[in-house]
Subunit: 349 residues, 2 copies
DNA sequence: AGATGAAATGTTATCGGTAACATATCTTTG
DNA sequence: CAAAGATATGTTACCGATAACATTTCATCT
């Protein structure tokens, strides 16, 4: 690590003014070839490159979008991040990721930090944000004084910013209808957390759909145990052990694919055959879905598309476009093996 | 978005000098309570916060570490990133993630950008870096002129920086010995890519170990088809369809857990029972390992520990500590169901 | 050769902060 | 009450770059 070298050092050593160095660095054509070469040699010799901070101070942009999410260890968010990164890059921007964990509110310090660092925009991702306790509304309000904000999440409270929502109605309706059409009448819902608005909303959508089909919405068929595979295991154990065998559900809808995975494990452990004895539907269409046994039927919320829209709208907003709008994306059901076929369920009729 | 407000605006409106504003912001005790309050009110009213760029320009650090890796969609790297983020945060630093994809060399522009942005250090992660074609050596050399560098990866070429390696010997030996002890004699290795130094090294370590145990290292037992589940599927299909049934391996070691997952799927599809007809060992101990069927035996490289060391050493280096050193971490075998037990394999003896 | 205009390069104010140093305002005390 | 010392606040050079504007150099043409 050599001492830091500034544009003045280069200018002095090359025997030119700083303006000429700037011109050489910027590739401005008005520099004589001989001068350019001379300066470039000095630049190379010292591995000089201009300070982004100084450039930014002098009227520049940071060309950076901040992305705030629970965490990238959840493959769903990893997909969102990767998409945002690629989309931003295509527009000449960088994305800086900040993860705050699945249960923490958005800290005021983080908001401060990002304002101080003069991000060109902020992207939120995550269902968790919907909670009032998350402080999302406050964070958005504070950011909005300084930069455009986009939120990729399920619909929740009204937010005065760019909101890209997934359609929770289709997200609940699709799997319930599918199971109903296959003959299922006792359908359970596991995972998520009633404390978090998003996940409870999804639960509500599920219940509404059941009622619409004239099915019982037995509270025993609803266990919220979080977002990971271990939670899925626990949910199944708790639900089935609290119920006489004849009242067991014949199908389970999981909050996400990890929860479904854990549920499948536990069900097998209890000696059930999948999908014959229990149908399962996950959510998020994660990479492992086609590879587990049975291959997992799931709901795709199309986070990539939503994220791309969010990035684009954010950049449009930067250029003076709409600072506040709402877009909604429908979900799709990806049918694999974990629900079997109608045929396999004849006996349920 | 209001017009950007500077320290001068605050000073003027509060009727004090900029120095006083700085003092209030920094919480310096020498400001009279009345003044502090007056200034704070103006700050709050305008949602003012000092520009990090200006602060950095004036002697400050960026308190930012850059992390360069293939991509966070691979759960192995997601773990590494999350660990680095947490560890850095504990020391008051932020981590900025840059992903370059699994097959791209490290671009010169990225290196430039990070030098321009005056990162306080760079962290590389990923086996892929080991390839000469990746340009890792050049990138490290360029960074080293400006900041300390740490690399978390398998051992590869000599790098003049902080190198945190996993022990490929234990990584190969552990699964092979385990399978051998269970009675397996025909052991295959799938996944990875011979073009990438790391993965071919792991393949070599595997072969060496086979030879050490006096087993044949049949090239038909080695198929490299990449890093994901789909590659695992392909590998199994290609390997088994090219071999008469009696020469089929009785165990497969996969490059990573995703590859193992794909392989399991394909094996089941071909009617094999797991683990009775085929034992499988993965690598990375990813979250889904305990939940697939059968639960996947795997190797844990302990990326978290390595990453924590890397971050710590990087920060030590910043303070003038060693800029170049090498640490090596042994791997562990995590035994689950996918190899069965010795008993189950009696017939193999 | 001298005028003219284009091309190449230099000078300097500016961006938004910080902190060393200077100054002004209070207490305290003989 | 004046002097001394402590406390609070102000002034200003500087950090590293950029770009508007000024100046110099050079080729071209009458």
């Amino acid at each position: 690590m050599q001492k830091k070298v500034t544009i003045y050092d280069i200018a002095r050593e090359a025997g030119v003014s700083t303006a000429t160095v700037t011109r050489v660095v910027a590739g401005h054509p008005s520099v004589k070839a001989a001068t350019r070469e001379k300066v470039q040699r000095v630049i190379d010799a010292h591995a000089y490159s201009p300070s982004a901070s100084a450039q930014h101070l002098e009227g520049g942009q940071t060309r950076t979008l901040a992305m705030i999410m629970p965490g990238v260890q959840n493959p769903y968010f990893a997909r969102i991040y990767a998409t945002a990164y690629a989309e931003a890059q295509a527009h000449g921007y960088y994305v800086w990721l900040f993860q705050i964990g699945e249960h923490n509110p958005i800290s005021g310090e983080l908001v401060d930090e990002l304002i101080r660092r003069r991000m060109d925009g902020v992207l939120f991702a995550g269902g968790i944000w919907s909670t009032r306790r998350s402080g999302l509304a406050e964070a958005v309000a504070r950011f909005r004084h300084h930069m455009p904000v986009a939120v990729v999440c399920p619909p929740s409270m009204e937010l005065d910013c760019i909101c890209i929502h997934s359609d929770l109605v289709s997200c609940s309706r699709l799997p319930v209808r599918h199971l109903h059409a296959l003959g299922h009448r006792r359908i359970a819902y596991i995972g998520g957390s009633m404390q978090l608005e998003d996940t409870s909303r999804r639960g509500e959508g599920f219940l509404e759909e059941l009622r619409a089909l004239g099915l019982a919405d037995d509270p025993a068929y609803h266990v919220d145990t979080g977002f990971d595979a271990e939670g899925g295991e626990r949910a199944v154990l708790r639900m089935l052990s609290g119920l006489p065998r004849k009242r067991w559900p014949t199908a389970i809808i999981a909050f996400n694919d990890q929860v479904a995975l854990g549920a499948m494990r536990q069900l097998k452990q209890m000696g059930l055959r999948l999908p014959e004895d229990m149908a399962i539907i996950g959510c998020d269409n994660q990479f492992f879905c086609p590879y587990v046994d049975p291959a997992l039927t799931t709901v795709d919320l199309h986070p990539e598309e939503m994220t791309r829209s969010a990035v684009r709208e954010l950049l449009v907003a930067r250029e003076g476009g709409a600072q506040s709008l709402t877009l909604m994306r429908e979900a799709s059901l990806i049918v694999r093996e974990s629900c079997g076929t109608a045929l396999g369920y004849r006996h349920l009729g």
